[in-house]
């Protein structure tokens, strides 16, 4: 269980907090989407959880670990337990696919071994298994910058999973991808989280994808939680509260309420089929 209590972050030299007094519980194995406009504080929130960003105040507990008190060595141990997936994939371009995936284990492999690329055989074995699972077994020795966007994100996913994390932090995994690939990547992330029983927090712009793939949606606006419930309750009014007034009728179930799929989702699907 991950618990966030009264979490506030104000960046230096800014007038207002990026996130303000956020309190949330994330039960084990839950897949959660965080939606909200640009600048709402989604990235700040998940970056506080693995301390890429230093919280200003508040508490974060990952099971029995008090995240905010950790210093160098124990902070590294915490980060080993948390996998992260990025919008721009954040692969090291000049390293191969395999090297990128293996870098997920740097926290527990000795420096001397990692410099010589001599990772323990069990680590290499599970890297192959994960690469097979994300469909990249034939790309192992390609350089990361030779891959397509979707393939690069799969490497990013494999790197995070090799950590054998308890928690996945996912920052806009689909924002740089075409609609069809975005859908496949989202399905992969959610499927793998279920398979390994991981808690996954997914920042995502795309309301349609969020509601289709997760059971719980948190809406952020100006650094505060304005919605936290199942996708079913996400109507025109709540979307208006999260993103501001607009014509939301095409992004909600309300326009198409006897079909289980939303209107916009099916349009998305058709667009995907064109690819």
């Amino acid at each position: 269980m991950l618990s966030v209590k009264g979490l506030t972050k104000r960046y230096p030299n800014t007038e207002i907090s990026a996130i303000e007094d956020i309190t949330l519980d994330f039960p084990d194995g839950q897949v959660i989407a965080i939606i909200g406009p640009s600048g709402a504080g989604k990235s700040t929130l998940i970056r506080c959880i693995n301390r890429l960003v230093e919280p200003t105040s508040g508490e974060i507990w990952l099971n029995e670990t008090n995240v905010c008190n950790l210093k160098s060595e124990s902070l590294r141990k915490l980060r080993c337990r948390i996998g992260m997936i990025f919008q721009e994939y954040a692969l090291v371009d000049r390293l191969t696919v395999m090297e990128n995936v293996l870098s997920g284990k740097l926290g527990s492999v000795s420096l001397w071994k990692s410099v010589r690329r001599k990772f323990p055989q069990p680590v290499v074995k599970s890297a192959f298994e994960i690469l097979d699972r994300v469909g990249l077994l034939d790309q192992v020795d390609k350089r990361a910058d030779e891959l397509s966007g979707g393939q690069r994100q799969r490497v990013g996913i494999a790197r995070a999973l090799l950590q054998q994390p308890e928690l996945l932090l996912v920052d806009e995994p689909t924002a740089s991808l075409d609609p069809k690939t975005a859908r496949q990547i989202m399905r992969l992330i959610v499927g793998l989280s279920k398979e390994y029983n991981l808690t996954a927090i997914i920042n995502i712009h795309d309301v349609v994808l969020a509601r289709e793939f997760t059971q719980r949606i948190i809406g952020l606006r100006d650094g505060s939680v304005v919605y936290d419930a199942s996708p079913a309750g996400l109507g025109t009014e709540t979307l208006g509260a999260i993103y501001g007034e607009e014509d939301w009728s095409h992004s909600t179930y309300e326009s198409d309420n006897n079909d289980s799929d939303s209107a916009a989702a099916s349009i998305d699907e058709k667009l995907g089929a064109l690819k």
Binding site: L52, V92, D93, S103, L106, L111
Partner: protein, 268 residues
């Protein structure tokens, strides 16, 4: 707003100095300074005329360079320059690389950063000749002073340029490796090094060029190398020998440039 009103709007580019009068005053001041600057250079035309004669002798000497009469001195000088170049480049790169990491704000702790930056600033403030003069005073005449000079200057060169390169690496890749729980050293090896490696090799080869060229100058202040031989040749008015040495330096610099260019191409 209609078309007639648009035609009333005026647009001018933004000037670095907004005040028009200040701009004009500065221009006048610059032109005046330039005029007095040119007038104040005291040219001794008689000396120039005499020198022109010597320059002619020199040009003629180039048509008949003398590689033979001082054969051994020239070979010794060239070999000494080459040895200084190789040793100083390796040593400079070895010293400069860790300082480059230290001098990159995005990966190094504040105190280390300041120490490394200080080294960069000091070593880059003085040209090689000045450093060489100091080392000649400390360790005496000879190639060792030259090697020390080029090592320090090369380390400053690598530390500054590679350090700046490290500061502009992709921060997301760095963050991603940090987020896996990797140690500082592992982050260096997996996130920083792959991004700057080609540039590092390029800079090292480039420095090799520079060191060879400098090693042919340092001899003039007594820090070893072919420059010393050249200095002696000119002091004795042996222009044909001097011409031979200069031609050899040109040939070696061109060769070195060609080879390092080829290697850099393959690396990138």
């Amino acid at each position: 707003m209609n078309a007639a009103e648009h035609s009333q709007l005026r647009w001018n580019t933004r000037h670095l100095i907004p005040n028009r009068n200040v701009r004009i005053a500065l221009k006048i001041a610059m032109i005046t300074y330039l005029y007095f600057g040119i007038v104040s250079v005291d040219v001794n035309w008689i000396r120039v005329y005499q020198g022109a004669g010597r320059a002619m002798q020199f040009v003629v000497a180039f048509l008949s360079p003398d590689f033979v009469s001082q054969y051994e001195l020239i070979i010794d000088g060239i070999l000494e320059s080459l040895a200084m170049t190789v040793v100083a480049t390796l040593a400079g790169v070895a010293v400069g690389l860790p300082i480059a990491f230290g001098a990159a704000r995005n990966i190094s702790p504040k105190p280390i950063y300041f120490v490394c930056r200080a080294f960069v600033v000091v070593s880059r403030t003085f040209t090689e000749i000045i450093i060489a003069i100091v080392f000649v005073v400390i360790v005496g005449f000879g190639p060792f002073a030259g090697v020390l000079t080029l090592t320090i200057a090369g380390a400053g060169f690598i530390a500054k340029l590679l350090g700046e390169d490290i500061e502009s690496i992709n921060p997301e890749q760095l963050e991603a490796i940090r987020a896996t729980g990797a140690s500082w050293w592992a982050t260096l090896v997996y996130a920083v090094w792959p991004q700057v490696k080609p540039r590092f090799l390029g800079l090292s080869l480039y420095r090799m060029d520079i060191n060879f060229r400098n090693s042919s100058v340092l001899g003039i202040v007594g820090a070893g190398g072919i420059g010393g031989t050249l200095d002696i040749a000119f002091a004795r008015y042996e222009y044909s020998v001097g011409a031979a040495i200069l031609l050899l330096i040109v040939a070696l610099v061109l060769t070195a440039e060609y080879i390092s260019g080829k290697i850099r191409q393959r690396v990138q």
